[in-house]
Amino acid sequence: MIVRIMGEGQVRLDDTHVTELNKLDDELLAEMEHGDEAGFRRTLTALLEEVRRLGAPLPDDSLEPSELILPSPDASLEEVREMLSGDGLIPG
């Protein structure tokens, strides 16, 4: 599957890695919902590193829809919460 790291690009991941990434992803969601900024930062960094380690980067000129999207490495908890609520990522 294709995963996009916002502000960085896309990587192609083997579906078999999804389960282990899912754990980190669920942790990240829980930390975001509980407002645990430090935990959120730690887990996001770990998740992004795992995605980069396990995935193969896609060329910049490739045009493929991403199945999963991850916040950029420097995204704050508040920003991600904002993106996931209300009007979402693109206003309107």
């Binding site: 969601l29 829809p65 999963l68 999207i69 916040p71 996931l84 990522l89």
Partner: protein
Amino acid sequence: MSGVMKRMGMIFRAKANKALDRAEDPRETLDYSYQKQLELLQKVRRGVADVATSRKRLELQLNQLQQQSSKLEDQGRKALALGREDLAREALSRRAALQQQVTDLESQHQTLQGEEEKLTLAAQRLQAKVDAFRTKKETIKATYTAAQAQTRIGEAFSGISEEMGDVGLAIQRAEDKTAQLQARAGAIDELLASGALDDPSGMAKDDIQAELDRLSGGTDVELELQRMKAELAGGSSDQRQAIEGGTGQGQNQSQPQDTPRFDKQ
């Protein structure tokens, strides 16, 4: 999966679909689809024409082969009549080869004819479908236009309901303004009455007039007092006249008693 990755992906896709929905007018899509169907129909018709042309060509070839076959048969018959059996054998063997070709071509002709019939039928069905689609397309377009109008009406109504809060504010503003104007009018009245402001309408009294009125008002009180006193004393009307005459010199006798000498403006 319900984590951040999935949710962000879903939001992205939903937004992208929404953007596409906005960009795409279904009426244009229907027209485009109809256009494509017409092109397809045209291709099928061209296919039918091509097959028919091939069939015709085969028929011509068959005719030629059959003519040659007949000719070889005649030649074989003539050769036999002339006692040339060898020549007759040659003619007949050539004819046999031709007959084989004729059989092959006939089989091809049959296949082509079948194809042609199928294609003709397909073209007819497609034509019917395209016609049906055209009717449906127009219905859908009309429905869409109506729905769009309906949505606009709905939006207008919901817009109004959303603005109700603003209407409340507008009423409040109007009330405030009215109260402000009333207060201002009251203040102007007071200022006019006190003489601090000139009344351009001439309705207000100037200070001299106000003093005259005050004096005349006072005179009226005095007159009234004297009249009452005279009544109590049981005096005659002549006496009353005398009293009044004494205070109101030059006053017309026929004027009512209580009429002030200065008209109030």
